[in-house]
Subunit: 401 residues, 2 copies
């Protein structure tokens, strides 16, 4: 008998039919003799609907109150889940974040799961009940409901798995698992049987969107065995763990991020900390700059280039222009219509042949490269938006022939 945590996302519980499909997976796991704690998200677009309702009342809603409002979505899901399991003849108990003992810290709207008081969950499991826990929410030191931010139900599941020392944490979603690339863009992408936490973290950050990266970071920290699998297909998923695949490919997958903007700052005064001040300013405002590159130091000025997501462009430009005097640079140039293609893999570390293979893939396909940057376990290349899909396919074909 194992203790298994199962998480079902919003699309997996969107309506009564889907709710029962999730309930049947839970029921099967329980009937196989396991203890089951299931984490449910709000149904379908409930969270977006509640956000819109609050915005109609007051676009500047207090975050504490927005959290109290949004948390109702997951509370309703788990109650309905328990009602569905009863229909299947099983005893389940729904718990809100505070009932489950999930203690949260940090700002409303993006709190983090800090600690688990597992007494209630343990007591219910001891009674052989299936425990359903409302995702995305915890209780803070003030006794208030705090939400964990978007993707927060993944975090809830992994935090429960860590706190309860679960044997497995299954993330049920609407895809079969993690693929070597997005199958909607690369038709011959293959599902991976396994992947390391670090690779998953890079892929999550790079827009694979299957798992929230905060949840992967927690899973890595507490060595929680994760499985990503489909609510609908019944096929085996992808295991995420700490051990690299033996004899595997150097590259584990390729990712594409579209709607990228390159920002070039020219004539920056060449003094110590000049570039740092720019990225510190953007970081404070929550703008994640990537692929930072600076021209060689030595003259009176230098240039700094980086990329940001299109959605942050206006805010980033405005911030830079407002602070031009203080930051001491001459000009900001913006180039839009770009995309970022990345190859990720623990095998990339200290393996220069991979970079050479990557560039040859672009050369062979006649795709122009604007910038390239290498990280510990990834190489990213900036291409024209018009070449985006072709570039991803070329990279994928090179490493997964």
């Amino acid at each position: 008998m194992a203790l298994i945590i199962q998480k079902f996302g919003g699309s997996s519980v969107a309506d009564t039919e889907r709710l029962f499909r999730a309930a049947e997976i839970i029921a099967r796991t329980f009937r196989e003799g396991n203890d089951v704690v299931a984490v449910l998200s709000a149904q379908g677009d409930t969270t977006d609907r509640l956000i819109a309702q609050a915005a109609a009342v007051n676009p500047d809603a207090p975050p504490r109150e927005l959290d109290a409002l949004l948390a109702t979505g997951e509370q309703a899901s788990v109650a309905l889940g328990a009602i569905a399991l009863k229909k299947l003849g099983l005893e389940a108990v729904s718990l809100t974040g505070w009932q489950a003992g999930l203690l949260a810290e940090g700002p409303h709207g993006s709190a983090r799961a800090a600690r688990l008081d597992d007494s209630r969950i343990r007591a219910e499991l001891a009674k052989r009940k299936i425990v359903l826990v409302a995702g995305f929410q915890g209780i803070n030191a003030e006794g208030d409901i705090a939400t964990l931010g978007r993707g927060g139900s993944d975090t809830t599941a992994v935090a429960l798995a860590a706190g309860l020392h679960a044997d497995l944490c299954q993330i049920y979603t609407d895809v079969d698992g993690i693929f070597t690339a997005d199958p909607r863009v690369v038709p011959d992408a293959r599902q991976k049987q396994e992947i390391t936490y670090d690779e998953m973290l890079e892929l999550a950050t790079l827009g694979a969107k299957v798992l929230h990266n905060r949840s992967v970071a927690i899973a890595k920290r507490f060595s929680v065995p994760l499985e990503v699998l489909s609510t609908f297909s019944g096929r085996p998923g992808t295991m995420v763990h700490g051990t690299p695949e033996a004899g595997g490919n150097a590259v584990c997958g390729a990712a594409l991020e579209r709607k990228i903007v390159r920002i070039a700052i020219t004539g920056l005064e060449d003094t110590p900390g000049a570039a740092y001040r720019i990225f510190a300013l953007l970081g404070r405002e929550g703008i994640a700059a990537d692929m930072l590159q600076a021209s060689m130091s030595g003259g009176k000025t230098r240039d700094v280039v980086f990329i940001v997501p299109e959605k942050d462009r206006r805010r980033c430009e405005a911030l830079l222009r407002e602070n031009r005097e203080a930051l001491r640079f001459e000009e900001v140039a913006v180039r839009t219509d770009l995309a970022k293609v990345s190859a990720v893999g623990v095998g990339l570390s200290g393996n220069p042949a991979v970079a050479a293979q990557l560039f040859s893939a672009f050369f062979d396909a006649g795709i122009r490269i604007h910038m390239a940057a290498t990280g510990e376990i990834r190489i990213s290349v900036l291409v024209d938006e018009a070449d985006a899909k072709r570039a991803l396919r070329a990279v994928h074909a090179k490493f997964f022939p």
Copy 2:
């Protein structure tokens, strides 16, 4: 400066416009220098919608889970209320039942407000915050959410007023206050300035539907001054308190209850406790029999007659037939299409002239009376459903000429 509890029902917070109307009443009361604790119901038909959603999943939903589901409606209302008050420039804090410290006892779905741990509310009031409390819900000894049953937000408001020793408990609704009769049936019904708890209890039980009777009973027990008034008209409402109106009418109001069924049990064995066993059985099943009458004792058998609401008829009949042997009677006869008209007033006690006036009203109007029963402060008369409205108007015209 006073401490005022204000309760707004579902129709008073049904949409954003109405929510702001309620928020403005709260804001005005607060700005006049009072401490304000407001209790909100779920918006519009939210509760009915959630019940239907649960029934679609499982018609036999576990009551604990139904409570967890339904409680989300009020939680959303108070969060939205705090968001609206912020828009009006005021600091409010929304509290769920458990956050407000409302401890509930008894079965899920019809728990009672047993005790208030007022520490959180007091702390928020001390910070000069407006406190919004989710109606209809409390937390039980198991740490579970328990709802107080229909009309439960009235109970929440009165229980908070009692626990906090509030100066006034205002129940905002969609009517102007308590009337001498239902104005939809009796066009010249007049609004009452004041009414006693006992009169209000009889009227609530008899279907005046403005206040839930459990809330009136708590108000009476703890001498909470109640005011019933309109969210929309801005006019003064009706005060409910313990002191009879000086020099007032013997009759305070008239009430009509439709869809009444008369049940006659004939041939009941005339032994001590025979009638008691019948009513104990019905009471255990939650069927409220009224206007009980028994024929004189002395022979071998006797007859017992009483009325029940139409909605309880099938269950009542089935119960009686199933237990015919044990209860020792011969037959059950049912008569439908009846209505009950009542006159209520503390002045009725020991005043036989009122009964005479009532019967003369029916006689003058040519309305046939099937049964009559007198209580401490009310007289009820059973008439044909077809005569219902005419009967109410006749009684009203007699006592409020």
